[in-house]
């Protein structure tokens, strides 16, 4: 039996599993956790049925799943895992090791809120909290972009000039459990797009080497600098991968960012993930009513596209950042902080508003976005009164 390509209505999770299978990973290791479960169930089924020739390592925790991949990747294997929420947080220590050891592991993060209180639904807190680990982070807006980005992720990660792990982030339930038409990739096409993994250095008993060994203060700074340099170089590779994919498959989603209706846009909405789809509809609707609104999609959160953002916002009169995370203690999400930082030394003084939205799976209706646009319009006229807010906060619950 072979996995077939072509356009079908499938579940987002199946689309991921299919895309991963087309990338021919040597080793898969994962621990099931909602809402990632369907992905790893499908992959383990493929392995059990002999449809793919991967080694599937069952483990007792996410810490072990990623640790198994660190060993496998260091031995020269193409590796894959998927996780979410508490599972990703449990991997935290190993995430640093994977990046520091320059291992091109690829994971799908099925974005979900973090405990406490326990909640299984979507927001971006789990992966945002991993932003300093040295992993490249790409966010996708629909199942098709997810499929196509999984393949690009291996190309970026395994490039010898990068050699870093990549997490492809998809919204839990909203994308993992949606059924929609997806053009599933064909094995031959993926094989010609993605060459086999050629590791820079491998663990080999006949040619012993050390990975992630002890270094004293004379060397540690240089190792950290090298990781930063590598993730810096990944910018070119993310662009290359997007353009090469477009040449091979005819689909393109932007490079580190994507812009939509930004010509003459005075109000610029900024977001990541599946919310982008809804925002495209809202922007089209408002544009047809003469509201000068545009959209900036952050596709790569790490590396952070500061230069691209600065260019994209240059003509805007106000920027509204809608994000599904909160950096507790700053009063705002991580994305809005970084956007403000990107503009300051470039001397771009556009008012930047932060909207914390969609936490723990709270739905984001069109009307809520329209209210945010109204507030942004008001800032153009009267200046900033409220810099950051929790959208649709239920005061009646807070007041008991």
């Amino acid at each position: 039996m072979e996995l077939e390509g072509g356009i079908r209505v499938v579940e987002g999770s199946y689309a991921v599993a299919h895309a991963v299978a087309m990338c021919r990973p040597d080793v898969i290791s994962a621990y099931p956790i909602t809402p990632q479960t369907h992905i790893v169930e499908d992959l383990s089924q493929f392995v059990a049925d002999g449809v793919i020739d991967s080694k599937y390592i069952n483990v007792e925790s996410e810490f072990s799943a990623l640790s198994a991949l660190v060993g496998s990747s260091a031995a020269g294997a193409r590796t894959y895992s998927a996780t979410t929420s508490q599972g990703l947080e449990l991997m935290h220590e190993v995430l640093f090791n994977a990046a520091g050891m320059r291992l091109p592991i690829v994971m799908t993060i099925v974005n979900r809120s973090v405990s406490a209180p326990i909640n299984i639904w979507n927001d971006h807190q789990d992966s945002i909290a991993q932003r300093d680990t040295g992993w490249i982070q790409l966010y996708v807006e629909d199942a098709q972009e997810l499929v196509d980005t999984m393949v690009q992720a291996y190309l970026i990660a395994e490039d010898p000039l990068v050699s870093l792990p990549v997490m492809v982030c998809m919204d839990g339930f909203i994308l993992s459990h949606v059924f929609e038409p997806v053009n599933l990739l064909d094995q031959k096409a993926v094989d010609s797009f993605l060459p086999p993994f050629k590791p820079v250095a491998v663990l080999d008993p006949d040619d012993p080497k050390s990975f992630g060994m002890f270094v004293n203060p004379d060397y540690y700074t240089e190792f950290r600098y090298l990781v930063e340099e590598a993730i810096e170089r990944s910018r070119i590779k993310i662009r290359d991968a997007a353009h090469r994919f477009e040449s091979a498959f005819g689909r393109y989603y932007g490079d580190l960012i994507d812009t939509y209706q930004t010509d003459g846009a005075e109000i610029l909405l900024v977001a990541m993930g599946s919310l982008i789809g809804t925002l495209r509809d809202v922007v089209d609707d408002l544009r047809s009513k003469g509201v000068p609104v545009g959209l900036l999609k952050i596709r790569s959160f790490r590396p952070f596209p500061a230069e691209e953002i600065a260019k994209a916002v240059a003509g805007a009169k106000v920027i509204a950042v809608l994000e599904k995370d909160i950096s507790l203690g700053t009063g705002e999400g991580a994305l809005v902080t970084e956007i403000k930082a990107a503009l300051y030394n470039r001397d771009i003084r556009v008012p930047v508003l932060g909207f914390v939205i969609g936490l723990g799976g709270r739905d984001i209706p069109v009307g809520t976005i329209q209210r945010i646009v109204d507030k942004a319009e008001d800032v153009i006229k009267h200046g900033i009164t409220v810099e950051n807010e929790f959208v649709d906060l239920k005061r009646e619950i807070l007041n008991g």
């Binding site: 209505v9 299984i120 459990h177 949606v178 059924f179 929609e180 809804t278 799976g361 739905d363």
Partner: protein
């Protein structure tokens, strides 16, 4: 774009019905999107699933608040859930019940259609699993999707005898609702 909301209880196959409808509509040449209401699924608890159908690529990801169609798999839900909530006045609600539309406590200006789907599923499938029957009823009453496409999606998901029985039930419901 047409938006459909399916109400049922955990275990009645509401999510499966949404998926099959999306697959069938895509076979008819329309873009489609199906997703559950992302509740914690427990047997017997009220659940919802949503479907969007469109001639264009569907980008909207919010839940459905003003559906064109509502499908109610279990009439006892009417007592506890506002199943007709937000339903467009020129829309339609299809309820699985042995009663006539005028005997249902529904507050809506939309068209109300009823079908004894449980009876059909008991007669033709041998089990009170009425989700595919409700899809046949939806196809017959709305003409938004072809009966053949529903039957194809059903046979594909449930190969063999089970699929054949379900396809028969789909056609029966389609024929009954088609004559209005």
């Amino acid at each position: 774009m047409k938006e459909i909301r399916i109400h049922g209880r955990g275990g009645q196959g509401s999510v499966t019905a949404a998926e099959l409808l999306a697959i069938a509509a895509f076979e008819d040449g329309r873009y489609s999107q199906a997703f559950p209401s992302f509740g914690v699924e427990r047997r017997g608890a009220p659940v919802m699933a949503f479907v969007r159908l469109s001639g264009h690529k569907i980008r909207l990801r919010s839940q459905v608040y003003e559906p064109d169609y509502v499908i109610v798999q279990d009439a006892t839900l009417i007592e506890s859930v506002d199943v007709a909530g937000g339903l467009k006045s020129d829309g339609m609600i299809i309820v699985n019940t042995e009663h006539d539309p005028e005997n249902l406590a529904l507050e809506t200006e939309a068209a109300v259609r009823t079908i004894d789907a449980t009876r059909i599923s008991l007669d033709l499938i041998g089990k009170p699993i009425m989700n595919t029957v409700m899809l046949g009823a939806f196809a017959g009453a709305s003409r938004e999707v072809a009966a053949e496409s529903i039957k194809h999606a059903v046979r594909d998901r449930f190969p063999g005898d089970v699929g054949e029985k379900n396809a028969l039930a789909v056609q029966r419901a389609y024929d009954m609702m088609g004559v209005s």
